[in-house]
Amino acid sequence: MSANSEHGTMTLKLIVWRQKGPNEPGRFETYLAKGITEHHSFLEMLDVVNQDLIKEGKEPIVFDHDCREGICGTCSQVINGLPHGGQVRTTVCQLHMRKFKDGDTIYIEPWKAKAFPVLKDLMVDRGALDKVIQAGGYTSARTGAAPDGNSILISKESADYAMDAAECIGCGACVAACPNGAAMLFTGAKVSQLAALPQGKVEAAERVNSMLNAMKECGFGNCTNHFECQAACPKGIDVKFIARLNREYLKALVF
């Protein structure tokens, strides 16, 4: 294959999951990505392939993407078995082709979890994550009723801890990576962020219970502490937040 590549560019073999709709059977199709440089992002590589497909009169590969700077959490592909491709703290849109070499074969699949039905090709429905937040991922602060921002002092340690949890971009890689299709890292991060702050403590008990219920209703699995989620998380959210969720659950149970 290398022989076909122009100087300094790569040709890659893509094996991509194609699926018409939620209830249609899917299958793998093979495509060649040609003329790719090390500066292409992974999604730009797919853009190139899609342009070629359109020119050939075929349907381009559907995939979710938006900000392309690693913060909106829209992009969602399992690349060679790993959500977002497995580069540390990197979303698909920030993954660059310098991580691959000419002639590589790349498997591209959608997130797989019962709670995330495939809509088309690599695009899945992650509405379940919104449902979990709707169940209690907030403080019930009315607009306009807030006291001065400095009236509640929050230690730097707590603020930093909350921020570590709040960095979650809601992409769902944790669910996609979890052998149990669980959303504990996602839920744990939100529960921990709010439980660590005085503003969120008030509703902590109710929050953890209703978010856990919503998780179950949405069809997410249970945590068995594999910690695969942390390894897959493009923001490096720590499983300590799952322990915190467990702690908050026990607190709610006992007190």
Binding site: L53, M163, A166
Partner: protein, 637 residues
Amino acid sequence: MILDGKSPTGPIESTWDKHRFDMKLVNPANKRKYKILVVGTGLAGASAAASLGELGYNVEAFCYQDSPRRAHSIAAQGGINAAKNYPNDGDSIRRLFYDTVKGGDFRAREADVWRLAQVSNNIIDQCVAQGVPFARDYAGYLDNRSFGGAQVSRTFYARGQTGQQLLLGAYSALSRQIKLGTVKLFPRTEMLDLVLVEGEAKGITIRDLVTGEIRNHVGDAVVLCTGGYANVFDLSTMARGASVSANWVAYKKGAYFANPCYTQIHPTCIPQSGDYQSKLTLMSESLRNDGRCWVPKKHGDNRPPGEIPEEDRDYYLERKYPSFGNLAPRDIASRAAKEQCDDGRGVGPGGRGVYLDFADAIGRLGEDVIRERYGNLFEMYELITAENGYKVPMRIYPAPHYAMGGLWVDYNLMSNLPGLFVLGEANFSVHGANRLGASALMQGLADGYFVIPYTIAHYLAQTSLGMLKEDAPECKASVSEVNARIDRLLSIKGERTVAEFHRELGSLMWNNVGMARSEATLTEAIEKIPAIRAQFWENLRIPGNGAEINQQLENAGRVADFLEFAELFARDALHRKESCGGHFRVEYQTEDGEAMRDDENFCYSAAWGYRGVDQEPEMHKEPLKFENVELAVRSYK
């Protein structure tokens, strides 16, 4: 026509309070009878939908993303301004007001800016209450940093992800209302038309991006929170899905589009690396707090940056603007970078880049402090460029970033079409010709949390309930119009892809209507845009059909609108024979290359009215009066 912004009169300090008292209210028991359609769920949309739902209105919220949490407000990095004066460094509501009016190069309405500065403090309180983890100092107090265009530290931040945290705060408030049933959410839904009845905005026509269904939603008011149009340049810092479409259909239905030529080019972005590139990545301008911009003094100095000695470096911002230095406002910093590159002293591939060097700051504060402040930005830079910013200077170049222009609104944020409210970046209101850093987040949340809840009541109290029914002829006509356009797009079956057209338009816009514009480049753009548009409608290829997920079709609709909008953009730039803020006309500059405003002839907002795709638009003027800030040459020297 002369437009009236309906600003309240009297001493500016009390305008908003007075106005709030003068406005009509809706009885709490009646609120649930009113349905409000909120389009877009970024900072403005999410905060508006949440606040209106909380008040008891019946709200429907729409976004094209799969979740409200993904709106592009999420990408804002640096921070949010507020006049809290916590650092005791002389800040006040008046100073924030003054800085914003001056930063906007005196092209914004005073009363609107005052209100923004006034409610800025409430925003911080509101966000803290929501659990937004703002940075704190060791004593537990909120921390501030400084930002371009200001000499006080008034920017609140949450690491390098302030937009994300504020949006998640608004999203959580919205989620709470969804749970309570006051807000109904429609994700993966794109607004494709505005429905008017008796001249009032009462409904929208949307496409369900999953099923392809085209349908109406009717209500008693429509609130557009649909963001900016920087993607008209194709390559910008915007999300790929961001478009002008919602605003454009409103414009075509009679809403005025104000000051489209005011676009912000952000100075600290990662330079383009090739033609395949799909977006330009911004790095927070807070980097300029500790980074120093420089280029080699000599032309063709190809030594690696580390080998160029101090005396051969030109710290051009510090040289040109000694008092603001590297913290000069965005428009000025961007233009200065372009100047150096045009002069042939740019660095990196194609010579389109300047260095942003942290060596001094690292030497002074240590790498750990810099990592603590900007760690995620350095990480992002390395992901994209494979270069380590701690070891070698970053390379940056300006990129289209923000739209100061937008739909014209009055003081109540209502457009000239009654019932159509426009919030956040989608409107034109407070930033004038240039927006200061950390003010976009402030505006989005101010409009959504603290302005629209009051001003919409004033309109609703005066309109009749349920004017538009779903089976009304206006609705049917709109659906069939939208369907007809989709059919037309799908039936072209030409040779070229949407991306190719977008790239062609974008490069024309960047070259001719970008950072420096002239009568010649603008005239050329106005001639060429209709030709690209004609090509588009003759030779576009969209695979698939409209009754399924079809991303090419979605993009085609957006690019079709950009192809019309671009012309208005260029016309506005051509008509404004002055340089101000983000609008720089090479013919109108001082001897040392600074923007030269013409307050005599152009101290107004230009609001354009639609007269047909191939017709020249009609211009309406809203004169700007400056009673509290003296019109002055904006100097950062």
